[in-house]
């Protein structure tokens, strides 16, 4: 029994010693791995950023083999001389193998190094990159699909404009809100009250304002023929200048240059709600029989449309601002929704350029509808059958419409 007890104690001690030794060895091995130098990133390649106007270089590298051993990120160093002083220009997070230096001068040659940094602030420096210069390119080939589809649509626009210029009739369906324009102007004439035209609150660089001013031209021409008073308060000085020119031309083309007054179009203020306060004041004091809200609008849309509604005016609105359309639909008699605004501009002017543009855009819509239907069917067949044939075709359609950042 005693012998067994000694044997058991000896075995336990031996086991403990073995365990301690093994653990110790493991610790030594672990500490060895921490003490071993951090391996640097490799294969640092610096290239000119493609498809840009110059001033940018892309730096790529192969991740440090110690990436999983506490690397916190990579510091990018730059110099204009291989032996000169390198300065830090940026930091890329762990796992990143790409950095865009967007602050280069095209006339200078640059050299790059990448430092791997770990949690203990150990650093490890890569080899030097080859010399590189940034330069500008004429084309960004990442946007080739944009060029093709845009080119197709623009080609269709040019074709239809040429077609319209030859005097050939281009069919456009009737737009409900437009039929009410003449009726609304006639009503104001009968009632002897003015017509209020609000061309939105954005500047002439917004396409909706441009469409609004085009419609103003057609409205002003009819107003000139009917000899009704027009009031166009604007919130932008350039819009005021353009609206003045447009209304003046409309009066001249209607043969009523004598009836034109500089006071028809006037500036109020650029401030959104200051403008609204003024327009509301004009509405309740002048009581226009017809109010047009054609252009780009924001939060002021409902305030103006509700005031116009309260004075019993016929209201015709048109905007492509998705958030404001519900208010115009609710408070106005007719609303030109989204692209109807641009279509109305073409329809009213009857100009070959505008009509051709609209027809060309319809070609774009056919392309869009076809792509959605074909792409969705291919995706569905792929989801059902798992066939790589359908999968690759679906991917092709996706790629045709994808915008890849260069």
């Amino acid at each position: 029994m005693k012998a067994f007890s000694y044997s058991f104690t000896f075995c336990c001690l031996l086991g403990l010693i073995l365990l301690a030794t093994t653990d110790g060895l493991a610790q030594v091995e672990s500490s060895d791995s921490l003490l071993s130098p951090l391996l640097p990133p490799s294969e640092v390649i610096a290239e000119d950023h493609p498809g840009d106007a110059g001033g940018a270089i892309i730096v790529r590298w192969k991740l440090s083999p110690d990436e999983d051993r506490g690397v916190t990120g990579y510091e990018i160093l730059r110099s204009t001389s291989p032996t000169g002083e390198f300065s830090s220009i940026g930091f890329a997070a762990a796992g990143s193998n790409r950095y865009i230096d967007a602050n280069t001068e095209d006339s200078l040659t640059y050299y790059y190094k990448v430092l791997a940094i770990d949690v203990s602030k150990n650093v490890s420096e890569s080899e030097l990159s080859s010399p590189v210069r940034s330069s500008a390119q004429w084309f960004d080939f990442h946007l080739l699909n944009l060029l093709i589809i845009g080119g197709l649509i623009c080609g269709a626009v040019i074709y239809f404009i040429a077609h319209a210029k030859k005097g050939k009739k281009l069919f456009l369906r009737k737009i409900a809100g437009l039929e009410a324009v003449d009726e609304a102007i006639g009503r104001a004439t009968e009632m002897g009250r003015p017509i209020l035209f609000i061309p939105g609150i954005l500047d002439m660089d917004d396409v909706q304002t441009i469409a609004g001013i085009t419609i103003l031209g057609r409205v002003a021409k009819t107003i000139a023929q009917y000899d009704t008073k027009l009031n166009v308060p604007t919130s932008r000085s350039i819009v005021m200048s353009t609206a003045m020119e447009t209304v003046k031309e409309a009066y001249i083309s209607a043969g009523r240059a004598d009836a034109y007054s500089e006071d028809f179009v006037h500036y109020v203020t650029d401030e959104q709600f200051g403008y609204v306060a003024a327009v509301d004041g004009i509405m309740v004091r002048e009581k226009p029989a017809t109010c047009f809200y054609i252009g780009a609008f924001f939060a002021e849309s409902l305030i103006m449309a509700e005031t116009g509604n309260s004075i019993g005016a016929i209201q015709i609105a048109g905007t492509a601002m998705p958030a404001q359309l519900p208010f115009f639909v609710a408070a106005c008699d007719y609303t030109l929704i989204g692209e109807e605004l641009f279509a109305a501009s073409a329809y009213l002017s009857g100009e070959p350029k505008q009509l051709g543009s609209l027809k060309g855009q319809d070609v774009g819509k056919i392309i869009a509808m076809s792509a959605i239907v074909i792409g969705a069917l291919l995706e569905t067949f792929f989801a059902i059958s798992g066939s790589s044939f359908f999968g690759s075709l679906a991917e092709l359609v996706h790629k045709l419409f994808s915008i890849v950042a260069s």
């Binding site: 401030e271 004041g281 208010f327 569905t380």
Partner: protein, 223 residues
């Protein structure tokens, strides 16, 4: 004391603007005129300090030319003193276009004002073509090409295609095409309804903000 005074002024102006809900009145007219006058003046000053001074006068060196202290040297100094063509000289084109715009004040040469307008409209249309085409057409198309294996995808695809059909102007809305366009306008109206409700709620929060100011900050009745 200052805050009590400023809060009282703000409250009177708020009440003045809200009084429009009852009817047009002298207090509203006063507030309206004050608002327009102050905002127009503010925008002029803001435009001067945000655009005219730093972008035109400083970049060209006009500020330095008129003898302003600490004014930076601009493109004109670079041209005439160093014989160098500075990039900022391009601002001269913008300045000339701005002056051309003012020529409308003269009836004889007012036609010149059309040139800067044509430049603004034409360049904006050209510049925005790519941006709009990418975000409003290409990107939306790419994200609509989905398999028809869920109700959400089906709604998205049918809604988009019928919506485009509604905005197709080269064909009369009759027969099957007209039916599809009608489905498209239903989709639009449902979207508008949801958007309307959402925005009305956000407007209510604005109203609550003003009422909180009147009864809390100003009168101290709401803690």
């Amino acid at each position: 004391m200052d805050s009590v005074f400023s809060h009282t002024i703000a409250a009177i102006l708020t009440i003045g603007i809200i009084s429009f809900l009852y009817k047009d009145n002298p207090l509203y007219k006063f507030c309206e005129s004050l608002f327009i006058g102050v905002s127009a003046g503010y925008w002029f000053v803001q435009q001067y300090y945000a655009n005219l001074l730093p972008k035109l006068f400083d970049n060209l060196g006009i500020t330095k030319l008129v003898g302003a202290e600490n004014a930076p040297e601009g493109a004109l100094q670079a041209l005439f003193l160093e014989g160098r063509l500075d990039d900022n000289l391009l601002y001269l084109i913008a300045g000339v276009l701005g002056v051309m715009m003012l020529l409308r004040l003269s009836p004889k040469i007012g036609w010149i004002a059309r040139w800067p307008l044509a430049f603004t409209v034409g360049s904006s249309a050209g510049l925005y073509f790519i941006t709009y085409f990418q975000s409003n057409a290409m990107s939306q198309l790419q994200h609509t090409i989905l398999p028809l294996n869920s109700f959400n995808n089906l709604v998205l695809i049918v809604g988009t295609v019928t919506g485009i059909i509604y905005f197709y102007f080269s064909k009369e809305h009759k027969g099957v095409f007209g039916g599809a366009a009608k489905v498209g306008i239903y989709f639009l109206m449902i979207t508008f309804g949801a958007s309307f409700g959402y925005t009305v709620m956000s407007r209510m929060s604005l109203l609550i903000g003003r009422i909180d100011f009147l009864f809390g900050t100003w009168l101290g009745l709401v803690k």
